[in-house]
């Protein structure tokens, strides 16, 4: 089984995960962005007693961050 080691055309690994991996990576960035910064915003809320404003700002920032990450990590390199 393992003795057929003819080179395959795929070559060396590159930075962009192919196929299905790419989709899951993008999804996890978007969700992680909202969760992380939403949570940080919530902590700020608890600390400064801003009544949910900081959580909202956190969510929006996190979404923006997630989108930036998807573009930077998965976008076509120029």
């Amino acid at each position: 089984m393992a003795d057929d080691q003819t080179p395959r055309p795929s070559g060396a690994p590159d930075d962009v995960p192919p196929g299905a991996g790419q989709g899951w990576t993008a999804l996890s960035y978007l969700i992680a962005g909202m969760l992380v910064w939403g949570f940080i915003g919530w902590l700020v809320d608890q600390w400064l007693d801003t009544g949910g404003i900081a959580t909202g700002i956190g969510f929006v920032l996190g979404m923006a961050g997630g989108v930036i990450l998807v573009i930077r990590r998965l976008g076509t390199p120029t």
Partner: protein, 265 residues
């Protein structure tokens, strides 16, 4: 087994099925309800491991140049994982991970398949513990591979710092850390667990629902037949989910290893 059928026919099974239905009585000591060391799940895991070891040993015991039917079957499974998962996802460097992926794929596939194999009829993967351990193995593996390939500092630098201007890095680094080191293993485990849990629950609802309606009112008998027809249809759907989830688990593990091996620009 016939005891179960009698329980069903006498209408003693609790209808809506609950999480309790996933906790099977102990085998050793027999029938104990608060002992979870040796249950049907333990037995199924050992059977799965045994079947896989014996299958691959037996099929590859005397390899022929022109493969026999069994050898061809084992080779096509290995070949599928090697070419369509390892090499496709990781590139030529992926061939050395093919044995791990094949083992992972076969184990997940077989333990998932217990969900619809008669007499087993529940998958060990419908308990979070089993997918969680598999996810932990893949998680440790891809981190270890990355650290060995790049060195500790470079690996974490590569994993945590995306190619972006410095002023948005404080925004991005927490997201990267959370997504790579927490969401990845968590989603890997939960995806498999939730699919198998939901599949078993659906089959329970439609099977037991048929009996519940039959026992409630004789006029509902035709509808309970519809419910059982749905069970058959859902079993076929479950077969699809079983194969798909085994494939997805393996492909995502491969994708994480690929990410850990990737070079910086």
């Amino acid at each position: 087994m016939f005891g179960q059928a009698n329980v069903l026919a006498a209408g003693q099974a609790a209808f809506p099925p609950s999480v309790e239905d996933f906790y099977l009585p102990s085998i050793l000591p027999w029938g104990a309800h608060d002992s979870y060391w040796i249950t049907k799940f333990t037995a199924m895991i050992w059977i799965a491991v045994g079947v896989l070891i014996i299958f691959f040993l037996a099929t590859y015991r005397k390899p022929q140049l022109v493969p026999t039917k069994k050898q061809w079957f084992a080779e096509s499974i290995y070949g599928f994982v090697r070419n369509n998962i390892s090499v496709d996802m990781i590139g030529h460097a992926g061939v050395r991970f093919a044995p791990y992926f094949t083992t992972l794929f076969c184990f997940v596939l077989l333990t998932n398949a217990f969900a619809i194999i008669p007499l087993f009829q529940i998958s060990p993967n419908s308990h979070i513990a089993f997918p969680a351990i598999l996810a932990v193995i893949s998680y440790l593996l891809f981190n270890y591979i990355g650290i060995r390939h790049h060195g500790f500092v470079k690996y974490f630098k590569h994993a945590l710092i995306p190619p972006a201007p410095w002023y948005i890095l404080p925004l991005l680094i927490p997201i990267e850390a959370f997504s790579t080191f927490i969401i990845r293993p968590f989603s890997l485990a939960v995806r498999l667990f939730a699919n198998m849990f939901a599949g078993h629950m659906l089959l329970l609802v439609f099977t037991l629902g048929g009996f519940a309606m039959l026992n409630a009112n004789a006029w509902l008998a035709p509808i309970s037949v519809v419910s059982w027809v749905m069970t058959v249809a859902l079993t076929l759907l479950e077969a699809l989910v079983i194969i798909l989830q085994a494939y997805v688990f393996t492909v995502l593990s491969a994708s994480y290893i690929q990410g850990a091996l990737a070079e910086e620009h």
